[in-house]
Amino acid sequence: MLEPAITTLSSLAEPHHLSPSLPDEPLVRIRPGKSWAVVDFRELWAYRELFYFLVWRDLKVRYKQTVLGVAWAIIQPLFTMLIFTLFFGRLAGVPSDDVPYPVFVYAGLLLWTFFANAVTTSGNSLVGNANLLSKVYFPRLFIPSAAVGAGLVDLAIAFVILVGLMIYYSVVVTWGILMLPVLVLLTTLLAVGVGTWLSALNVKYRDIRFALPFLIQIWMFVSPIIYPPSFVPEKWRWLLALNPLTGIIDSFRVSLFSHREFNWGMLAISTVITLALLAYSAYAFWRMEENFADIV
């Protein structure tokens, strides 16, 4: 059982005032087995600076030695948008809820690109940081979640293009826009949930590395990114709603374009599934983490 007493920890940080008397209670108790808390929030808080540095590292490293650098954050969704607009919007005539197809699909891709990249980097993060796992202690949960955190910055950059597109197509923003941060938060939580779980599985089963790209590809087609949820026949729509991204992406568009009312029911399903996934993944991670250093 690990119980770092955080209050004592920070008060002892100054080396020059080393008190000769030791605390009565141990700062850390190392015992076999798992900690009692699935997620030890006090510990996460105590190590928060490390989390910041891990996100910062992922950001710094991502575009080093690339010619286009941070422009990649824009290029990826922008070019996908152009191609999708041509093939799905023009040639296939996929409907877009009366919103111009380019801006419609870009909004979906914006959130999707963030989610897909976050899950992929997060899923591979523990294996990629094997060296850290076996040489130093810190809350392991930071590794997969820091990978998601770095993706948020790309999302913010790519958002600029969305604003440009909305101005170009003269989309009028309403109060619905206030839902935007909530939806981005939900997507982040979902990415942390899925990424964390996959990253832990990946330590034990390297199959995940191969399954991931495949999973992401399929997930994209079962999410309303290139099409609106109304594109799916009524009787199958409940199935689509089981994909937590459905409610999130649909609400994301409503909040931007206000082309209709929010589908609160669908968003509620997404929220519940996202939170359930997050809780399950924290539990699964907790069950596996004590062995990471031994098998990674």
Partner: protein, 445 residues
């Protein structure tokens, strides 16, 4: 006094199978689940063999301000102990109470990213080692000065020389300010000057009253830094006490194998085990078994081994090392242009004659057999200890100094017209002295 570290009954069990295979794939697991009951039936008792205790019932206390050395051979459990104390892995049984903030340095440069600059890595590595941002900022200039990398602060560390890299990495770690510092073998890297500087820094840390646990194979460093030492053997804590005592026990107490050269089947070996060494003997040139050599005496090494499966191209290697593990020299069966040998099944004995003048000390042999492509077939360290005496067979050549510096004694002849008795030999007919010594080889032992 109240201990700052209190470890009680620590044990750690590893599954060898899991360790060798590392990770598994889903398919293996599914197939494994189906086969498991069958497998267990077939294996019977053997499944217990796959579990090894890397650490077994280790209890100790460390008081604040102590500098404790942890010594032991490879595989004795030192690293496992440090990993438990650093909370990287959990014990299987037992527990530790830590009454101070622990900083551990199990590797120099953990988390260094090659693409990031020196400056960026100082921050990142500091944070990973558990420093607060403010702490890093306060120590930044000291770290840079200690590492001597001022000019390269904004260069990615992948362009650093390995020396610079290590210096920077150690500098960050050296400025950690925990109450307990755990250090694993970090002095094995870097040049001699820098090692000295690191040792100095560690000494300073100890003087500040911080507690240090120090693992090293470098007995000189252990002796100069630590007041107390613990010796781990086969996962157990076998000796504990003043550093001089414990280091002495470690250096002199060889295993039965190291005393006799008879290798038990379960000796710690590495390799594919297509062949196994059974015995290593040291003999004089007449073939008599000895354990001590006169200074300058040529000797032979006899290797006995069983080949369990025919090997097409085998290469032998014999290393001489000091008891604390420093390599002195080695020879391979490829030396002198020999081809790799084909080894048919069965028992074989090979003899090699070695002519090297070693300084008077205790040494040990390491033997290895491998394929030409580098795969190890069998490898055993500290297989047989031997001593080189200060006395030479002809008294004039004996070692007359109190301290022994280095490992190899050159055959030197000093010449100067009128100053030294012997003249410079230019005539090829003159027979050098050492051949006569080696030739009769029938001295009294």
């Amino acid at each position: 006094m109240k201990p700052i570290i209190q470890a009680e009954d620590l044990s750690k069990q590893y599954q060898i199978g899991a360790r060798e295979e590392g990770y598994s794939t889903l398919r293996e697991n599914i197939v494994g689940a189906v086969k498991a009951p069958l497998k267990r039936l077939r294996r019977g008792e053997r499944s217990a063999d796959e579990l090894i205790w890397a650490l077994k019932e280790v209890s100790f206390k460390v008081e604040p301000g102590e500098v404790v050395g942890i010594i032991g051979r490879n595989g004795a459990g030192k690293s496992t102990l440090l990993k438990i104390l650093s909370r990287i892995t959990k014990p299987t049984t037992g527990g530790v109470d830590l009454y101070g903030r622990v900083g551990s340095l199990l590797e120099v440069g953990t988390g260094f990213h090659p693409e990031l600059t020196g400056r960026e890595n100082i921050y990142l590595n500091g944070a990973i080692l558990g420093m607060k941002r403010a702490e890093i900022e306060r120590n930044f200039d000291d770290i840079v000065a200690f590492a001597e990398v001022e000019k390269f602060l904004d260069t990615p560390v992948k362009r650093f020389s390995s020396g610079m890299y290590v210096r920077l990495a150690f500098a960050v770690a050296a400025h950690l300010e925990p109450e307990v510092l755990i250090v694993d073998e970090v002095l094995a890297v870097g040049d001699a000057n820098f090692q000295k500087k690191c040792l100095g820094k560690m000494g300073e840390v100890a003087k500040e009253g911080r507690t240090v646990l120090f693992v090293s194979h470098n007995m000189i460093a252990v002796k100069s830094l630590c007041g107390r030492a613990m010796l781990l053997e086969g996962g157990r804590l076998t000796h504990e006490g003043s550093v001089d005592e414990v280091v002495d026990v470690y250096l002199t107490a060889g295993t039965d194998m190291a005393k006799t050269g008879i290798i038990p089947d379960d000796a710690p070996r590495l390799g594919t085990r297509e062949a196994k060494f059974r015995a290593v003997q040291l003999t004089d040139v007449a073939g008599r078994i000895v354990s001590q050599l006169y200074l300058g005496q040529p000797f032979r090494v006899e290797l006995t081994f069983d080949v369990l499966k025919e090997i097409s191209g085998a290469v032998f290697e014999v290393d001489i090392a000091t008891l604390d593990g420093a390599p002195v020299t080695f020879t391979s069966s490829l030396d002198g242009g020999n081809p790799p040998v084909r080894l048919p099944k069965g028992r074989h004995t090979i003899t090699l004659e070695i002519d090297v003048v070693l300084m008077p000390r205790q040494y040990t042999f390491l033997v290895a057999l491998g394929h030409l492509d580098g795969t190890t077939i069998d490898w055993i360290e500290r297989v047989l200890d031997f001593t080189v005496l200060r006395v030479a067979q002809s008294g004039d050549d004996s070692y007359r100094w109190t301290s022994v510096r280095g490992y190899v004694r050159p055959r030197a002849r000093w010449h100067a017209p009128g100053l030294f008795p012997t003249a410079l030999v230019t005539n090829a007919e003159t027979i050098p002295e050492d051949v006569t010594v080696g030739g009769n080889g029938s001295g009294v032992y």
